[in-house]
Subunit: 789 residues, 2 copies
């Protein structure tokens, strides 16, 4: 936080050095008041302000210093002239608008393309191969409403090749084509990812969480990742693999955010400000994924973001709305609905139904915890064994297995979101699906047909043969989805978890719902139905059960709470269903938490060894700072820099002998009184620059960090003053500080390191990595699993 | 953070001292590892663990230390046996349930009672005086739907006394009774507040914000405040004063929260945990005020809370839902709607309408900024002049003026929420109000009557005489409301601002809406209406304008953003209107912010001199910690305690000579190496206890803070070891730390004080009050306006 940035223009010569200018007092360390240039000393600050000097930037796979970044931004803000302030404030809103428009457009494009490619697996449109099934049959008036999916323009592959629509040969041809297309799409996806943008795989949310907490992964949110992820997401979804597009859409939106940040200096140059934008972008991602802007903002707040000031809340909301309305004007679902799964239930729920709802919550929690364990074990195996070396083959095999097993079952053949839509749907008048194939009322007089409005969707009826078939198929689909999702998530293709998790829950919920409904029909004289479910009344809504199951399973896997309830609320729009939703989601979270504290994203963060300091997890142990700091008792003493006693050579020796990313500066080695902290990277760059460009700097030149440069003895080379790169306000805690407070300080202030003193003497240093290792140790995990700084 | 709490039982003798027990090593300072009792020294810790010793508690009007409180809670949590952990976690949910139920019930009661008393101003029910107008006429079948408000059981005061319902004498009697009742109610309200609970006045939100930020105001959330505020809120609302019940409902909910906290040790004993509960309670307050649980949670997050962890978010949401559903089951509005103002619009808005919407935003912003200035100026005058000495008289006068001026105008005679409901309402088929008195269509054939469904509410029509009257009355009402609200808010009765602000905005919005509608009717050939507003079409919804105006004015006054939009969204339930809402609210906030940074609550906090460190305001100045810390250059040196060099007498002298709330402990006065920090209150209590109860402690006894007690010379009294009350982990920053970072540290960690070092030597101290004074100074305000610690 002590790097005044001068915006004067600078001339850089061929060797990369700036011509030395006469030093003006105002050029000198803005923070160290009263500091003045003295004869015989050259301030290196002057040399560092040009382009590319690199002071104040970060290496790849390193953690940023939030305090310094925020300080830098305030410095910048102070320098903005009063005239430009409105533009400065406005630029943030403009950025949000751009992100919203771009993400909304991309999401719309992805939806349309995925829809088209998915349909291509089944057949082709004769009017033009670029039409999907729905668009192809849009204008076909020859068919009745019932048969609206069969129009002459749309030809299945069997029809095109062997000329028949029914029978064994047609089935085999269609099966074959389905498998071939699926293989082709998934192969293309994994090939593109491998060849052009390795970061485009997976859901991206674990990495985005880590980046938002202050980690640097160069290229993770870059142009190439955006392009490749967008394309391969379409392919992966179309291939029929058990994955969703929600997580990757968050990644796509964050890429947009990061790319647009380059348009504005304010955001380009400041890692902290950029993370505010990315927090908003992740809200945009969920907003377009579900059409739920408020839920998206809460998702960003609850699940993804690390530093989320209120200003960002408001801007995120704006961006999420813009994106949602952009998506709606593109209208990819063709129903001018904003939301992905529009449901409207007409039957109120009864208090007694809370019991099955809680059961769904328990199922969701169990499945969530189990899924996380199985998936992490599988991913670990992939990392440890030869499996990890053949990602393309892996994708091909899983994709083949998925396609071969999915085709025979109607409910696995359709895409995940279609399945969920169908399961959420309350059977109404016009439904011709198997799930709504109920028999006539056994008693009560009215002869109920499929199209008689009076009864369909109004009264409980016995299940017809279609429903029984559907139940069997759904049961098979449940087992299949549960197994295949475990191996799918984590492959080298873009893959989200929301849709597969919700699909599992929706199937389970619908099955329970149908069970309850039939129970109510056949046993409405039971005590439990007494008083609220009389014969002829419609009292159980299987679609609601499906929705609650979906929410419970998603909650179990991701451990979302408020945001999940709000997303679901935005889908249904009815406050009445919030109570069942809360019951299911809460139970699911409790059950899942009891079996394992981590959600899937945290588990993947830990698997990958990212330095992520979980803001939700409380540190419960009784250790003190002195137990965690380095050097340990057996280690060599702390490497420190003295403020005026070391030469350039000595410093270079210290740098090459150690690998620490910074050194404390003390008054003298004896007193160990702390003066400040200097970063290794800044030190290396400064000395390097001084050696190259500054006359008289040799190995024996003294390096000083004091305000006033002492006068050197006759004949000695001029000293090098590096006070400008010295952080004069390092945070120091005492050795008796409990680790719980230390962890809190690190989390809340976003520190990278913190010094430890004892009775005013510098004793050691604690870095974020030390803390993470200590936490891993305390939880009986391998402390070496944290890989990066 | 160094006060281990032992849960062993303790015997306290008559003088309040605990009998000395043999010291066990495990009793000794749990944090100072290796500390052992040595002969010749008595540890005072042992004396402090009984009831009422007061160590670790706070004085009234003091700021809590969040770090210490959170540490205490973690200590407590560690001591909870594994068996009790589920109960420990469950107690939080139970507490939320209780708060939700109680607040919902109270809100329902307040609604019903206020409704009844409001109607009592107009007349009385013959079936029983406890029926309000609506209930009285519930079963009256004699009247037509049009005349449903005139039923024989309900008698106006004129009818009862002089026996006529129409004419001058009836008017005068009704007028008189209205004024008398209003005066009576308001007098009762202010009398009860003055006599029993002075804290029950005002909206309570400024104080709750301050309390949540860590301030102690004893009794502010107590039983008496709850009872009196509930009763007087009913009276104040019924008296017809220009005030609302939303802010006070937040206060009532927080009182419930605070009172229920006493049931659970976890929350009773910990100020930080209790504040988490209060944050949730404030969400409950808004949830019951508007029937908007999600909006309530966001309100708490955005506007009220200071420390709002995610766990609290989830629990707040639960509590808000419970409260909303409790309220709905009480059904005070008699329509089984959850929300206060239910609106449903059927006409989409057009992009061009954004222009008037933004105009409403500008109006809202101007009004908000102006209102804040006028109200603060008035409150300052009340404080400074004799006016403040006669609060009862003030209420009586304002109430008289309100009643006298309000009665002649229909729109001011009705209560604020009725007015808003009426203005939000879209004119439909059955409306008989003046606002919906439109004339027949000038062209288009259809002879439109009041009850012809085809046209009413469907086509733009010319305004009838009723509408013109209404417009005039509304314009008068606008001026009246704007003026009277300024003097009403801040009087010694419970008074919320939401309803009056919304009323002003709703009136302005409706007027603009009617204007636009008539413009569209008479000039639909204008370019601006071309293409979307053809003759015979219904294109302008004046109710929507009223809603946007209300949102804009409320936004201008309170500077709420997201929560306001979400509350309004929950009222309408349509995502379509979020964009206009955002446009209006955003404009309003920008305009208001340009005229004055503070919202009404912050302005009142500053007016009252509470030590509130605004989390939203950025500190933009370039000062350093050394500029803010005490002692200043001209002051006497910092008062410090040495770790082993002072006697009891010297310490007592130091305590009586100074008024600081704590002292740094150093190794020696020469080295100024920091060891720890000791609070004045703890020191006073400990020395007092030791003097009373511990043998051999005299004035010349040495007080030591070291781990190992030195052996005293022969004949010297035994030393008193006070290490147990020493905070071994005080946070220290360097003198070069920029104040922006210091302010950030104070905000985020919730510090009360922070020590300042220079090159490892203790130099000074910064307290929260110093920071607030410095910020006031930097903003050119009176730094002495901060009154409390």
């Amino acid at each position: 936080s002590s790097h005044p940035q001068s915006h004067t223009s600078s001339l850089v010569d061929a060797t990369g050095c700036r011509f030395l200018r006469a030093l003006l007092p105002s050029d000198l360390a803005g923070r160290s008041k009263g500091g003045q240039a003295q004869n015989g000393s050259v301030d290196v600050l002057d040399l560092l302000q040009g382009w590319g000097s690199g002071v104040g930037t970060y290496d790849d796979f390193n953690t940023i210093d939030w305090v310094r970044e925020k300080s830098k931004d305030r410095d910048r803000h102070r320098e903005v002239s009063h005239f430009c302030l409105p533009y400065d404030a406005f630029s943030g809103w403009l950025l949000m608008l751009l992100i919203g428009l771009m993400s909304g457009a991309l999401a719309g494009g992805i939806d349309i393309a995925a829809h088209w490619l998915t349909d291509l697996k089944e057949g082709v449109c004769l009017n033009g191969f670029w039409f999907n099934h729905e668009h192809c049959c849009w204008n076909s008036k020859e068919t009745t409403f019932q048969e609206r999916h069969r129009c002459p323009q749309w030809k299945s592959w069997a029809e095109l090749t062997v000329g028949v629509t029914e029978g064994a040969s047609a089935y085999v041809v269609n099966y074959l084509m389905y498998v071939i297309w699926a293989l082709l799409f998934s192969f293309l996806a994994v090939f593109l990812v491998r060849a052009f943008a390795p970061y485009a795989c997976g859901s991206g949310i674990p990495e985005i969480k880590t980046i938002l907490s202050g980690f640097i992964i160069r290229g993770y949110l870059g142009k190439w990742t955006l392009v490749i992820k967008t394309i391969t997401l379409v392919l992966a979804v179309a291939s029929g693999l058990s994955l969703g597009k929600e997580g990757p859409l968050v990644h796509v939106a964050c890429c947009c955010g990061n790319i647009f940040c380059h348009l504005f200096t304010k955001y380009r140059k400041n890692e902290a400000k950029r993370r505010e934008v990315l927090s908003a972008a992740s809200a945009v991602g969920v907003s377009v994924a579900f059409g739920a802007p408020i839920g998206g903002v809460l998702f960003s707040l609850e699940e993804v973001s690390y530093y989320f000031p209120l200003k960002t809340l408001w801007r995120s909301f704006f961006a999420a709305l813009v994106a949602a309305f952009t998506l709606r004007s593109i209208n990819p679902f063709g129903n001018s609905r904003l939301v992905l799964f529009y449901v409207e239930f007409h039957t109120p729920w009864h208090l007694l139904e809370l019991f099955p709802f809680v059961l769904l919550g328990i199922f969701g929690g169990l499945w969530g915890a189990l899924f996380i364990r199985a998936n992490i074990a599988w991913c670990r195996r992939r990392k440890a064994t030869r499996l990890g070396r053949y990602p393309v083959l892996e994708v091909a095999v899983v994709s083949l297995a998925t396609a071969v097993l999915a085709f025979p079952n109607d409910y696995t053949r359709m895409s995940g979101s279609e399945l969920i839509s169908e399961l959420f749907n309350d059977c109404s008048l016009l439904d011709s699906s198997k799930l709504c194939d109920y028999g006539p009322l056994a008693k009560g007089g009215e002869p109920a047909g499929n199209l008689s409005e009076g009864t369909v969707g109004q009264a409980e009826r016995p299940a017809g043969p279609g429903v029984y078939t559907a139940v069997w198929q759904l049961a098979m689909a449940l087992l299949f989805k549960m197994a295949i999702t475990v191996v799918t998530f984590g492959m080298k293709v873009p893959s989200g978890l929301f849709i597969p998790s919700m699909a599992v829950g929706a199937v389970a919920g619908r099955l329970l719902g149908i069970g309850m409904e039939q129970l109510a029909y056949y046993h409405h004289d039971w005590d439990m139905f007494h008083g609220w479910c009389s014969p002829g009344a419609h009292c159980i809504t299987p679609g609601l059960y499906a929705m609650l199951g979906a929410a419970a399973c998603l909650g179990g896997v991701t451990r979302m709470t408020v945001s999940l309830v709000v997303i679901m609320f935005e889908l249904t729009g009815g406050l009445e269903y919030i109570v069942p939703l809360m019951a299911a989601v809460m139970t699911s979270k409790w059950v899942a938490d009891a079996l394992g504290r981590e959600g899937i994203y945290e588990a993947h963060i830990r698997l990958n060894g990212y330095p992520f300091l979980e803001p939700k997890e409380e540190f419960v142990h009784k250790t003190l700072a002195t137990d965690v700091m380095r050097p340990r008792r057996s280690d060599p003493p702390l490497s420190v820099v003295t403020q005026d006693g070391m030469t350039v050579e000595e410093l270079e020796g210290l740098i090459s002998d150690t690998s620490y990313s910074g050194f404390p500066v003390v008054v003298s080695p004896e007193s160990h009184r702390l003066v400040g902290f200097v970063l290794r990277r800044d030190l290396v760059i400064s000395i390097d620059n001084a050696r190259r460009c500054q006359e008289g700097i040799v190995g024996v030149s003294r390096v000083i960090f004091t305000e006033h440069t002492p006068v050197e003895a006759q004949g000695a080379p001029p000293p090098l003053n590096l006070r400008a790169i010295l952080d004069l306000s390092p945070l120091a805690i005492t050795d008796h500080t409990p680790m719980e407070i230390t962890v809190d300080i690190f989390r809340k202030l976003g520190l990278r390191q913190c010094l430890v003193t004892q009775n005013g003497r510098l004793l050691g240093i604690i870095t974020k990595k030390d803390i993470l290792k200590h936490m891993a140790q305390m939880a009986n995990r391998d402390p070496d699993s944290i890989l990066f700084n």
